[in-house]
């Protein structure tokens, strides 16, 4: 096979680092294309496994076809006939089987490779109808993969160790399905910096480039891919000289990954003695280790939906959840763990839900609304949290609160569960604090009313920005308008800080923005003293806080309040903050730059 030409694509770097690996193309939302490589002597078994999957697929299609004929008549079942014939196509079958025999690849890999080529051939046809047949092929591939995975449980075992996941998008739930140890990077056609997937990529230190336009047709599973999350660049089949150029940075990044420097746990203190508590946002269980090694003072936000995503066919039982929460509590002891109750909807829905398609999911049935509509599910989660509180400090954070009634209703469920457990003589702690996530503008407006109903407040800055500015952060057409420095956000944040101080409620910032010094300084200046962030960001932010004084932060925040646009705030911060601290702020600049001034803004430290 001739060497494929090098192709370079520019996207948006959303997670830093440089990495080289083998492409694994993800084909659809529903079926994650798993596994690859070498079984050596097991090739014949693999061929048999493939043939069984083909047979099974054909049987399924025959049944479907008969059903379709009964329902709508013969005229419409012909497309399934074409699908069945594809599964009998000896050209295709022999290509797949021979690659299993000669290259010792797994059935899934062989299927993906052969059909990838076919689909590309389809796409190159002039006639639109025939071009569209690529979708029929996709259909068959999906069915084959589904039937293959039904037989194999250790599906990731034969994969190479250096996967770069490439695809149109990557649903956060897929992190539950992939074997993370084998994933080195991500390159996607869609997505944005603040998308959930980007957040997870950063917390896993997976270099990632999103918004890489029109690149999927140029990459196939098995290609060598260079992902440069610093420059936002993806290179398919890089030339030797490009690799030589990148070598030093590749090695440097590997060195960064290897070094894990557990820090002594000490609170962050400003130069003038203000103590700032920093906790970790987590959702993957192994992040708990990161949280501990980075010196987090507890888990400020455990995104519990991850537990639900990890159950691809249903919901985690009370016992499943209890085990996880107890583990979190025990690991983080004596620090508390805040469990955010199931927050799905928007861009993330676990497989167990059979939700009708919502035309506008971010404004639909999500967060607390979904829990209050599925009270049994909610009660199960509450029971697990209450029981776990015996083992470690637990707190409950209610997501997407927009009214006082929602808090009343949620607390009623909590009270009912508590009473039921006490009647059954289950030992419980006296109190589990209940807090509200402040992430919807209405919650900011009625904050005085909400605050009186809860024990603490958690500001979810990503959603707050999204809902306040009415900007869908995953829509590339408007994602540049997602501006956390927008004056409306700063004024909301000031209001939240003032109200909670006046009412004596504990408040913490649970968004990624707290992990960027340009925001951290504003937040400290506004009076926030509790943050929860990506564990890996904690050491740098602790260092930053130790280098500023509260009084100068306050002065800076006060001045920022008079500015009229996000751009003015940004310019002001990039002008003044570097003079205030000796720390290199260059890496953080990128995050607060708007996409249109990527090249114009230069900053020398």
């Amino acid at each position: 096979m001739p060497q494929k030409p090098e192709r370079v694509f520019q996207g948006t770097g959303v997670s830093a680092g440089v990495v080289l690996g083998t492409a694994l193309k993800l084909e659809s939302h529903k079926q994650l294309v798993l596994k690859v490589h070498t079984l050596g002597h097991m090739a014949e078994e693999e061929v048999q496994r493939f043939l069984r999957a083909v047979d099974l697929s054909k049987t399924q299609l025959e049944v479907l076809k008969r059903r379709l004929e009964d329902k709508v008549g013969r005229e419409h079942s012909y497309i399934l006939d074409a699908h069945i014939l594809m599964l009998e196509d000896h050209g295709l079958l022999s290509e797949i089987i021979s690659s299993m025999r000669t290259a010792h690849v797994s059935a899934e890999w062989a299927v993906c490779r052969a059909t990838d080529r076919l689909r590309q051939a389809c796409e190159s046809l002039n006639d639109e109808y025939f071009r569209e047949r690529g979708r029929d092929i996709e259909n068959i591939v999906e069915r084959l993969l589904m039937n293959l995975s039904g037989e194999a449980h250790e599906s990731w075992a034969p994969l190479p160790e250096d996967l770069i996941l490439v695809g149109r998008d990557f649903d956060p739930s897929n992190f539950a399905l992939v074997e993370l140890e084998k994933v080195r990077g991500l390159a996607l056609e869609s997505g944005s910096r603040t998308a959930h997937t980007a957040i997870i990529a950063r917390s896993l230190r997976l270099p990632a480039v999103f918004e890489v336009r029109d690149f999927l047709s140029s990459v196939t599973t098995g290609d060598t891919v260079l992902v440069d999350g610093d420059e936002g660049q993806v290179t398919v089949n890089p030339e030797p000289n490009r690799l030589a150029e990148a070598r030093q940075r590749l090695e440097a990044f590997q060195a960064v990954l290897r070094q894990s420097s557990p820090l002594p746990r000490s609170p962050a203190v400003t130069l003038d003695g203000v103590v700032i508590s920093i906790q970790a946002n987590t959702e993957l269980l192994h992040e708990v280790r990161a949280a501990k090694s980075c010196g987090a003072e507890g888990i400020g936000l455990f995104r519990s939906e991850f537990l639900f995503f990890a159950h691809p066919r249903g919901f985690p039982s009370m016992a499943d959840q209890l085990e996880t929460y107890e583990m979190l509590g025990a690991e983080m002891h004596p620090y508390p763990v805040t469990i955010r109750t199931l927050d799905v909807g928007g861009d993330k829905i676990p497989a167990g839900f059979d939700l009708p398609k919502q035309p506008n999911p971010s404004m639909g049935l999500r967060g607390i609304r979904l829990s209050l509509k599925n009270r049994d599910l909610f009660a199960t989660q509450i029971e697990a949290i209450l029981r776990a509180s015996l083992r470690g400090g637990m707190e409950i954070a209610l997501p997407m609160i927009s009214s006082v009634e929602e808090i009343w209703q949620a607390k009623e469920v909590i009270q009912q569960v508590r009473e039921r457990l006490l009647r059954a003589s289950v030992p419980l702690t006296a109190e589990v604090p209940v807090g509200a996530m402040i992430e919807v503008p209405s919650a900011v407006v009625i904050l005085e009313l909400l605050s009186r109903e809860v024990d603490f407040l958690c500001v979810g800055t990503n959603d707050l920005v999204q809902y306040t500015l009415a900007v869908d952060r995953v829509n590339p057409e408007v994602s540049h308008l997602f501006q956390p420095l927008h004056p409306s956000i700063l004024h909301s944040l000031r209001r939240i800080a003032e109200v909670s101080r006046a009412l004596g409620k504990s408040v913490r910032i649970c968004g990624e923005i707290a992990a960027n010094p340009f925001f951290t300084v504003l937040l400290v200046g506004l009076g926030y003293s509790r943050f929860s962030m990506n564990a890996y960001a904690i050491p740098a932010i602790r260092e930053f806080i130790a280098s500023i004084s509260f009084s100068s932060a306050r002065e800076l925040a006060e001045k920022a309040m008079f500015l009229r646009t996000a751009g003015e705030v940004r310019d002001f911060l990039t002008e003044t903050l570097p003079k205030l601290v000796k720390i290199d702020l260059t890496p953080y600049l990128k995050e607060i730059r708007s996409p249109d001034d990527r090249t114009s803004l230069s900053y020398v430290s």
């Binding site: 497309i79 014939l85 196509d89 050209g91 389809c122 046809l125 002039n126 109808y129 025939f130 047949r133």
Partner: protein, 91 residues
Amino acid sequence: MIRQVIQVENRLGLHARAAAKLVRLACRFASSVHVSREGANQRIDAKSILGVLMLSAAQGTRLVLLIEGEDEAEAGQAIRRLFEERFGEEN
């Protein structure tokens, strides 16, 4: 070996249903059946649905059929009839 030129007459061309019918028919015979666009070199196996679809033969396309084997005469006739009957499409 039989060589015959056939024009695709049906309105939809060799789309999925027509292609499926052609493949099913070709598979009934022991002879090998190959098709190419008239004037083109690339020959595809008429027993492969993917091959037939890749021909992307719209209405009016002229195809060359090459049939070889013990039942080639029968096969040639049956396939010609399928094209002439416009794959059973009404139009």
